[in-house]
């Protein structure tokens, strides 16, 4: 069964999501990669502010290719999430509830997810053309000079993913391969 989510997503909704749930997200999400995270948290240290109100928000670890004329965005699949491990515990503490990416997360990130109630959703790495069909609108809201690494505000429609790590710390990357492992 597919769980339909509307972003922003509250901590109460996040608590209901379980590893293995197939989800479709509609609403507003933000892109940020490591360069944007670094700058965002430096800005927070300095001014106590972030470029957007992060409470209940979703960050998609992604840097799109340029949009062709008449299209809202280029290809936009997830980037490797572990590069954000240094920053995610802080963004979760500040109110982030959902991360979308691909690949394993560190213990510190998972501990923060359990403590504050956040969820990690996997999108298909390398399916950037397909995923771009689920983006209705894209707008750069901060750090334009970073190019593809700028923070984009995306309006998404039924963006597909799977809950890989839930807010209790259940982790598909640890459980699923064991079912098929032969050596």
């Amino acid at each position: 069964m597919t769980v339909k989510l509307v972003a922003p997503i509250t901590r109460d909704t996040v608590k209901e999501l379980k590893a293995g749930d197939i989800v479709e997200i509609s609403g507003i999400i933000y892109t940020a990669r490591d360069a944007a995270h670094k700058r965002m948290l430096e800005e927070y240290e300095r001014s106590g502010k972030l470029p957007f109100d992060i409470k209940n928000q979703t960050i998609y670890f992604a840097g799109p290719s340029p949009a062709k004329p008449g299209e809202p965005i280029g290809s936009v699949g997830p980037t490797t999430s572990c590069r954000m491990d240094a920053y995610s515990p802080k963004t979760i503490e500040l109110g982030l509830t959902v991360m979308i990416g691909k690949g394993e997360r560190s213990k510190d990130v998972i501990d923060a997810m359990k403590k504050y109630k956040a969820v990690y959703i996997g999108a298909i790495g390398g399916a950037g053309a397909l995923l771009s069909n689920h983006i209705k609108k894209s707008e750069v809201i901060a750090y334009d000079d970073l190019g593809a690494e700028a923070i984009h505000r995306l309006e998404v429609f039924e963006f597909p993913g799977i809950v890989v790590i839930d807010s209790d710390g259940n982790n598909l990357y640890e459980t699923e391969f064991l079912k098929y492992k032969e050596i």
Partner: protein
Amino acid sequence: MREIDINEITETVKKLCIESNCILNNDIYSAVKNAEDTEVSEIGKDILKKLIKNADIAKEKMKPICQDTGMTVVFVDIGQEVHIKGGNITDGINEGVRQGYSEGFLRKSVVSDPLLRVNTKDNTPAVIHYNIVSGDNIKITVAPKGFGSENMSKIHMLKPSQGIEGVKDAVMETVKLAGSNPCPPMIVGVGIGGNFELSAYLSKKALLRPVDRSSEIPHIKELEKELYENINKTGIGPQGLGGKTTVLGVNIETFATHIAGLPVAVNISCHVTRHGEAVL
């Protein structure tokens, strides 16, 4: 002596940059499609189906298969009977990359200095490997490589006593450590022999060979087959979410080496292993 104009090289590189980033090569497309039939995990099957759909959309819209359109790697085989006129070949290739990444709406992912990290905004410079060969042609292969998989690659400087078992362990260990990060199903390029840098070069070059073509050296062909089967028994599966499709191909290239060494380089690549070639 045959003359080739630099503009012809630029045009070719430009075209190959765009095509290789938007059109998945047939060998990989077929391998994903076959895997969709044989995959036993439901989630895995669905992912493989979506990868095929993604490749179809990319080709139809001439949109990048993956947004990480990579650092552009270019292999150039220059016939020694060729004279290049009208400019410097490296400049001509970089101009082709510049034009290709701009006109093809490809992502610019290169920073000029590894520590200062300022984007060059045109994806140059490319990583270019020149090779002098016989004849009067130039063969250009463009192989853009994303860093999700590049970051999971490794070189192992083994002792000769570790032998073939050491090679197998090095490859398996690298693949397991990579896990879900390089967007499996992967393609694994292995370079065995040479020295430190040549093994890495060979592992990259191995990725250029179609996944449905084995090595012509009997014992290497056998090793490719064994590693392919064993990697698919790790259970990692599509996207690391479990299954029997972890690798689509294992390609190995070898070279002579020193009496004291056994270098093994493992270049991990994703299901979007891109390469296009042209002969001028």
